[in-house]
């Protein structure tokens, strides 16, 4: 007896009723018993499958249904099968009888990898992009947003669908990859690494595709973004294939400790960047009055922490002997990173919605510790400076461990400790100045127009370009100023000032001037923006509306109070 999933009524399925005559035949009986067992097993499993199906992401279910019916999926699946057959037959034919003693696995692996990389790096990410962009074109995005699907569910569903497609494509080539191992010339770690690279690239590019689709609702912008994405995907494919070629051509590369460290470092960078991109995509589809900033700020901190942990670990392993060389490089990476993040964070709305204010930290300690994570342009500015300051302070500690911050003697490779320390100080100051001026410009522009986050980013880009480009232009175009050397006119130009500082090309007067003026301007800018931050921090927490409290109580009623003593017990009727 089968149980109908829809109505719960009993139905006779394919299991026939056993008649006494049939029972007399032992062979038939065994077959029927087996059928009964199978039927019972399915009946037992069915509710579990249904339970599981209910908990699957709705978008994943829908997208998988659609994908399995779509022509595009069928086409690529068949193409992959044909490609794998052609490579196998062609490869074996070319190798010929020497297949038994020639190490041909590496070549075939590369060929299979190419066949796999095209759908994984081009088709899957572009399909992910199209699946979200098409929601806008087919007028279904509104229907999704007005449903109770959370932004996480939307992005997870789309990403999950990409993973399902990826697994299907991988399953086509899995037997072929096993075949390459049998042919010799390639070891299991190499196969595993190549597969991991392909899967991780596909996953990351799919996420970038979703990010591109979520970033704007304007159709012309979507057209431009789709072209950029297509170009980026082909570039990624080329990079992946080149890496695969390099990996398969190296010999016992995997055994080296440095390789393992590099792979681990790349993995941590991948994971933290993936988390940041994932949260960005989620927050782009989150409703505007929600807090779309705090989670991203935590992700940025996590990324910086991972970066510093790796750099710190590597430097500590060598007793901080190379900290003077690492400081400028890491300072540049951190400076550019926080300049970009700061240009976006300072574009946030200064007015917090009531929804956000409901969750603001209430205590003084909470506001002090978590205030930097609250949304807002001024808190964003302070957040960036605090993070960059952390980087600078940690490297200064490293420099002091290596012989002191003010040590100007160069015994090993340049720069000297004092140059590295000055570089960090000036780098931090320049970021504080650029972001501070940018933030003030945005505040002024907001009095007359709406400034979006993209607008904020562009303001900062123009500001940095102007502050670096205009002094150079003036120095080269005005006859009495023309000089190939560094002049005081280049003080706003971070690129020239910092590079000459590292190369020890600044005169001692120029060095002194830069060290005094740039941090002083940065301090002024910081103080001005601190006033804005104080205004932002003044926004108080608000209570949830009565209707929300009432609804919460209906959803999760408080437990009934039990009598604590005999006097509180109700009297018997």
């Amino acid at each position: 007896m089968w149980q109908c999933g829809a109505c719960g009524k009993g139905q006779v399925g394919f299991v026939p009723t056993l008649s006494p005559r049939k029972l007399r035949k032992p062979a038939r009986l065994t077959k029927l018993t087996m059928l009964n067992t199978v039927a019972k097993t399915f009946t037992a499993i069915d509710p579990w499958l249904e339970w599981l199906g209910d908990r699957l992401n709705p978008l994943l279910v829908k997208e998988t249904r659609q994908a399995l019916k779509s022509r595009q999926f069928t086409l690529w699946f068949v193409l992959m099968l044909i490609a794998s057959w052609l490579i196998t037959i062609g490869g074996v034919a070319i190798i010929g009888p020497s297949i038994s003693f020639v190490s041909a696995g590496g070549y075939l692996l590369l060929a299979y990898f190419f066949a796999l990389a095209v759908p994984l790096v081009i088709v899957v990410p572009f399909t992910a992009y199209r699946s979200l962009a098409a929601e806008l074109e087919d007028n279904t995005r509104d229907l999704l947003e007005v449903s109770t699907l959370s932004p996480y569910q939307i992005i997870n569903g789309k990403l999950g669908s990409a993973v399902v497609q990826m697994l299907v494509y991988l399953s086509v080539l899995a037997p072929c990859l096993a075949f390459t191992y049998l042919l010799r010339g390639v070891d299991l770690p190499t196969i595993a690494l190549l597969l991991s690279m392909a899967v991780c690239s596909s996953l990351a590019l799919s996420l970038i595709g979703l990010l591109f689709a979520a970033v704007t609702r304007q159709r012309y912008a979507q057209v431009v973004l789709s072209i950029i994405l297509a170009g980026a995907l082909f570039l990624a494919l080329w990079g992946l294939l080149m890496s695969a070629w390099a990996i398969t051509n190296y010999g016992a590369w995997f055994a080296a400790d440095e390789t393992k460290i590099v792979i681990a470092a790349i993995s941590s960078a991948f994971i933290t960047t993936f988390a940041l991109l994932y949260l960005t995509a989620v927050k782009l589809v989150t409703f505007a009055s929600a807090n779309r900033s705090t989670a991203l700020r935590w992700a940025m901190v996590a990324q910086q922490a991972a970066f510093l942990a790796w750099v710190g670990g590597i430097l500590a392993a060598d007793n901080f002997s190379d900290v003077n060389q690492a400081a400028p490089g890491c300072g540049i990476v951190a400076g550019i990173y926080w300049l970009v993040m700061g240009s976006l964070l300072t574009g946030e709305s200064p007015t917090l919605s009531r929804r956000v204010r409901r969750d603001l930290p209430q205590s003084t300690l909470g506001r002090m510790l978590l205030g930097l994570f609250s949304p807002g342009p001024a808190s964003g500015y302070l957040f960036v400076i605090a993070n960059l300051l952390t980087v600078a302070v940690l490297f200064l500690i490293g420099l002091s461990l290596r012989g002191g911050i003010f040590n100007s003697s160069v015994t090993g490779p340049r720069p000297s400790n004092v140059s590295a320390a000055t570089f960090l100080l000036l780098g931090l100051s320049y970021v504080a100045i650029y972001l501070g001026i940018g933030k003030l410009l945005i505040s002024a522009a907001r009095r007359v127009a709406i400034v979006t986050m993209l607008g904020s980013f562009l303001i900062h880009v123009l500001l940095v370009l102007a502050s670096c480009g205009v002094p150079v232009l003036l120095q080269q175009s005005i006859s009495w100023l023309r000089s190939p050397n560094y002049t005081y006119l280049q003080l706003p130009n971070a690129a020239w000032t910092l590079s000459d500082l590292l190369d020890d090309d600044l005169t001692s007067l120029q060095w002194m001037t830069a060290v005094l003026i740039v941090p002083a301007v940065a301090a002024c800018m910081f103080l001005v923006n601190l006033l804005f931050a104080a205004r932002e921090a003044d926004q108080q927490r608000v209570a949830a509306p009565e209707r929300v409290v009432q609804d919460d109580l209906e959803l999760a009623p408080p437990p009934e109070l039990k009598p604590q003593n005999p006097w509180e017990e109700p009297e018997p009727a």
């Binding site: 829809a6 249904e50 339970w51 209910d54 908990r55 709705p58 978008l59 279910v61 829908k62 249904r65 659609q66 019916k69 779509s70 087919d138 007028n139 279904t140 509104d142 229907l143 999704l144 947003e145 007005v146 449903s147 109770t148 699907l149 959370s150 409703f287 505007a288 009055s289 919605s353 009531r354 929804r355 409901r358 509306p545 209707r547 929300v548 609804d551």
Partner: protein, 314 residues
Amino acid sequence: MKATHPQIELRNLHRWFGSTHAVNDISFEVAAGEVFGYIGPNGAGKTTSMRILSTLDEPHSGDAFVDGFSVLEDPDRVRSRLGFMPDYYGAYQDVNVREYLDFFARAYGLRGGERKRAIEFAMDFTELHPLATKPIDGLSKGMKQRLCLGRTMIHDPSVMVLDEPAAGLDPRARIELREMIRRLADLGKAILISSHILTELAEMVDKIGIIEQGRLLAVGSVAEISARVTPDSIVRIRLLEEAQSLAKWLESHDHVADLEANGAQLKFRHAGGEAEQAELLAKIIAAGFRPVEFATQTKSLEDVFLQVTKGRVQ
């Protein structure tokens, strides 16, 4: 527990698109079980205010509430209580009718038997059972509208916002849709509906809001608005005899103007209310006239709409 708040409330809503003031200080309320007709010319601001109510757009000032929850502060709670049917048809490729409803049932968090019952109810209600396995791309306009309505009601929302649901439908489909909407209101749902087909709308709405150039010009029942814009009513009397003598008799009466006698029929404008009309009828009978019909001509929704709006666009 009976809700003390209106199911839909728009409070001083403003929305600009550049220099265009698309929604200008709009406020109204819709109670549970009420059908509110939202009418106005194209570009009046109906869709914008409906999108704000559905959490798809944000007002520049003011707020809107669904079941007491602010669309700005608690859009997630609003979404679980609201069904929105936009004026366009959002379709997925390679999906049939049942799969489409199944997806939205899942999207609204319905699970197991609850989801199956919801799909069955929606398909029963919209009579889509025979088309359950048909791809939605191949459905007719009327069937697509039914499917949209099914999708809108799949999670049993207490509030439904329907933007031009009858647009492009044939007369039979329109009548069926009208009946469905009335049945939904009878189930206790607050329904905000916009339509340009005023005759259809007049038969299903309890209240209307007339909007033009982003401003709400009038709110209330058709009769209330009609009485507000033109307090005089047209009275028609049919007598057993010639109406000329009654016309002469009425000339001296207060509240009566524009008398038109035509055979046994008489038409005139009456400035009083229903009590004054009853009093007048009693006087006519007392004066020896023999009326067989005494009727007040009600204004249609179209008349009211034309009187209230000026046909301006922004």
